[in-house]
Subunit: 364 residues, 4 copies
Amino acid sequence: MAGNITGKMFQVTTFGSSHGKALGAVVDGCPAGLELSREDIQAELERRRPGTSNITTTREETDIIEVLSGIFKGKTDGTPIAAMVYNKDADSSAYEPLKNKPRPGHGDYTWTSKYGIYDYRGGGRGSGRITIGHVIGGAIAKKLLKLLKINVISHVTQVGDVTAKHVAYSLIEEYASQNPVRCADQKAAAEMEEKIMETQKKGDSVGGIVETLTFGVPAGLGEPVFDKLDADLAKALMGIGAVKGVEIGFGFKLAHATGSATNDEYYLDGKDIKTTTNTSGGIIGGISNGMPIVTRIAVKPTPSISIQQKTVDLIKMEETEIKIVGRHDPCICPRLTVVAEAAVAMVLADHLLKAGFINPNKIS
Amino acid sequence: MAGNITGKMFQVTTFGSSHGKALGAVVDGCPAGLELSREDIQAELERRRPGTSNITTTREETDIIEVLSGIFKGKTDGTPIAAMVYNKDADSSAYEPLKNKPRPGHGDYTWTSKYGIYDYRGGGRGSGRITIGHVIGGAIAKKLLKLLKINVISHVTQVGDVTAKHVAYSLIEEYASQNPVRCADQKAAAEMEEKIMETQKKGDSVGGIVETLTFGVPAGLGEPVFDKLDADLAKALMGIGAVKGVEIGFGFKLAHATGSATNDEYYLDGKDIKTTTNTSGGIIGGISNGMPIVTRIAVKPTPSISIQQKTVDLIKMEETEIKIVGRHDPCICPRLTVVAEAAVAMVLADHLLKAGFINPNKIS
Amino acid sequence: MAGNITGKMFQVTTFGSSHGKALGAVVDGCPAGLELSREDIQAELERRRPGTSNITTTREETDIIEVLSGIFKGKTDGTPIAAMVYNKDADSSAYEPLKNKPRPGHGDYTWTSKYGIYDYRGGGRGSGRITIGHVIGGAIAKKLLKLLKINVISHVTQVGDVTAKHVAYSLIEEYASQNPVRCADQKAAAEMEEKIMETQKKGDSVGGIVETLTFGVPAGLGEPVFDKLDADLAKALMGIGAVKGVEIGFGFKLAHATGSATNDEYYLDGKDIKTTTNTSGGIIGGISNGMPIVTRIAVKPTPSISIQQKTVDLIKMEETEIKIVGRHDPCICPRLTVVAEAAVAMVLADHLLKAGFINPNKIS
Amino acid sequence: MAGNITGKMFQVTTFGSSHGKALGAVVDGCPAGLELSREDIQAELERRRPGTSNITTTREETDIIEVLSGIFKGKTDGTPIAAMVYNKDADSSAYEPLKNKPRPGHGDYTWTSKYGIYDYRGGGRGSGRITIGHVIGGAIAKKLLKLLKINVISHVTQVGDVTAKHVAYSLIEEYASQNPVRCADQKAAAEMEEKIMETQKKGDSVGGIVETLTFGVPAGLGEPVFDKLDADLAKALMGIGAVKGVEIGFGFKLAHATGSATNDEYYLDGKDIKTTTNTSGGIIGGISNGMPIVTRIAVKPTPSISIQQKTVDLIKMEETEIKIVGRHDPCICPRLTVVAEAAVAMVLADHLLKAGFINPNKIS
């Protein structure tokens, strides 16, 4: 398996699996002199941690982060920052019966095809638990973004058929933090919560949409052909498990539209050039234009459901049925908010370094 | 500007701009011994070339490809394949008045922010014309895919409000080739064509959706964390100008769905393991499962419209208006079909080499 | 700091510093199904560990390796292999007086120039101790090489003015393991040991040469232009601290020679094509030819000496003198043998994967 | 074949072969706003061009560079700079008899092993002629270096047994340009010239050493572990055909030395920190220290000699003999001076961008 390293200047390598010994990440390319503590990373992990509300998996993990290297006297010293979490509550027994019977919607079959071997315990490295590595990378990236007053916020805008109403950008962070669904529209949030619990009772799961807003990105970020800013964001977001669609700005709505209705026209706001609308989601021609960056991801229903499903026994090569027990989130969207923020933050940190907005050697 | 190189094992470097001297690509990493001719590349360029129907730009370019290196006695010899097209019909006069007045929806402003300098003639390297480089890379990638009997097909499924009906997969290639819109549903195709011509008369433009289907991809392609197959496809597709959304399989529809309704269950088709449905679009856990790979892109309306638009004069720093004349496609979807195929083919060729399905040294 | 990741298909990320919490590596891209145990890695670390003879530093480190991920039921499972060692015997007190007074020959000054901050304790990440990461990567690479019966052996051929006589290739591994200097010529080994101890008594240090021989590499490894096999070996070897020169085959001797005397002529050995001589060290035109690969590195004297040296106080900006106490190897060559093997093994594993000699997904 | 792309931020892709249609390079990552003309590149190619003196090959190539993209109104516009040279005087007839009989010392056999196919005409892509691509990249890199007043100079210090005396650094550029051997010691230059001509008469060839000096590099360039500045220089220099050894600073001399004799001590030169000696060649701990960077390469005798040599007929699989006619340089050192400069300049440009010394977007 390759492909566990992301970024060009801000490079994050992640490792670990659901029921293995530990999970973690190594961040290479973070400039020296950045104030960083264990707590900065822990705080982001807390937002991702399971067992914090009645709508998440009951697996309990304290997820205490241990920083192995890269911080010296409260600041990064320019060397790689390695951080990890030991797995504690790993109950593998529920997975034994599923050993050679791939769960529909999960990577069991494709991973077995590829590697011949598969750590079936808790989904192995296909588990959502591996996003601990993303969140470590994201936590450090966010500290870099803060130097430029860039703020990345995710919220849930849809769960199944429940859609959130538009909330003013300035209120989203606060409002979304007030409910376990992380939806800024409180009324919709209540309905979403109900929807999720109802789905869970049926042993089923449900999909949704997570929107990520980034404020304060300067114009000029992104490379104009293959490594466009939106292309890199699309890769990072589609690279999160369970994500099956990515939009920038108005996204698929633009397929129905005309140029005269959706071209973002320019105007002067004092000395700043802005656009009257933001259908492009802050990125034109692959490069940021200074407006908020808006991305949206389609999250599929968690494939782990406790309803009988058809599959194939890979040893006996005969059709069979399975029923997944284990512990799972009926809707992964709320917890994915912090992962989406991490993905966006890592891409932005990488591009800020590549485009020279942050000195790659040291923060001065 | 960096970021004009894509791929890890099958690496494509592109260069050139709309009104510069030439446009082209260098493909590094193609195994030796692949039968390849100038005509193979030319044939794909013909499908992308402007001026071939009444719904594309009137710019006339013969786009004769010249192969500079890498082919020896009818086969690749393992060395980089460089190919290019000289620009012929480059009329820059229409762009002079727009020099410091960024066109809404175009990269003029963001590129100027980044580089300080901007080749405003015909959109410079922000022009759709640069996809000649993509198509060169795609043509060679397709030849590699053919060794494994992999076939990549794009068709237009939506133009503005006109949506194509579902057509059997086996008929799409043939049907889509029978009309200039490249839509497999002939009735919808006619409506789309009308829609496009009507839009053009108004000096406006319209968006749409291009779907790409890939048949014959073996299970086991893709890396499971950051470099997932769908993540790399998302990057490649979002990296095409005018694309603002990417879906794999059911994409955004999954946000509304439940796991019990959309998990792809496994069954045996003789000795082959298949899924009863394909909501995942052939990719689960970042790795191909042997089912058709289905991607869909949201294409925004061409930003070049001949309707008056508001902008800012970057020299005088005052608000002003512009009207774009030039020559443009009122709907870029039909011509993007071949570019989307190229993007998908390059990603697949790269992953086939990375996963050892094709010997990176020589075809034997 | 970037640049702590090496390789393209077999990618090794290292982290940690001399007196920090831990040191380790993450190996990404190792195929699944490779038999691998904690002991395989520990065995290589033992060969690198200090305190094992009277000619190495007296720092005592047990260097017990902990494998955090990537091994499942005695085999690699395709996921990243993370392994680390906690630092134990880190005595930082000796370094306090040197804080702002760069030691001649060490990276203190250059690192401070770059990062503004410097973990002066034990040389920080500039310490030889960071080669633990190299050795972890090398241990895993060697397991891959063994599948193809490739064997990498280093020995010391020079210490100061003492030069080893030529020993038959087949005897070098055994003979070199019989003395602490790791020199295959026992007589020279004794002189080298004496030389090292004598130098140490004077508080001085001495340089030397380490030769690495690799047997069993098939013809056809290496890319012919920038990523030549010898170019990648040169980078990996020059990337080891204290190395200031790299030779392939006859190296600098070829500067004095004529083509007629040194061209390696071909002959048939049964059905195998071989060369009568091996001045090219097994690599011609950047690609392996099947003959033993021979590399040689020039190792400078350990810069840490306990003789008074001139330097500059970076705070007061005035000239001053320092005397280094700490604990150091008077000649680093013997311990570098295992690091040179690791560097060569990682390059070869990477190229074997790139050239398709090893299936990147799984060992079957 | 992969590996024809070098650099991370300043990325050079090269293509073409000795007797193919064209040779060239694409430079991606050069900031916008750099003054650059066709003549800047042509001037460097002139220094590399064959047929300019009686000690080089008689092949006559005008090597007229054509710039295809990336320059707009006399400056780089941030887009990739593609440039190429058409092959003119390609006489392939001499190579037909050698078709399946690999020339000793050349890549014919190894390339055939790897690719199964081999463009035997003039050495194909294994020819020294492919360094046209290096020189294009180097010419552009040098323009970037000039912004920081960095100067890269190569000279020949040895040809066979003739060794040049030390010449003051300030005189080397001027003196070396006064003779066809490019040796700064005029007396040695005359002997070298004689040596080369004498060797040529015998149908033989001779090796030598090229030293490259770089003045004006600021302290702080290079990454401290795998991507050390000296490691990248070693890769770039060893990646030039015919190079079999690389030294930094005192190189192999340090193997004989003691730390007390060779540690570079620090002193103050006004406000600048310098070292009293420069045994480290301007790089310590992988990072530049502000002193001149000194590299030296061992160049093997040109393998093409017109003396009878033993080889194997790869089709008949029997031993045979060949005599190479063709046109070749009896000593490649003089022409390699400009290639070595190019290699060093590309590495430095890449590191200057990576370390933030040059704004990657635009020169302002």
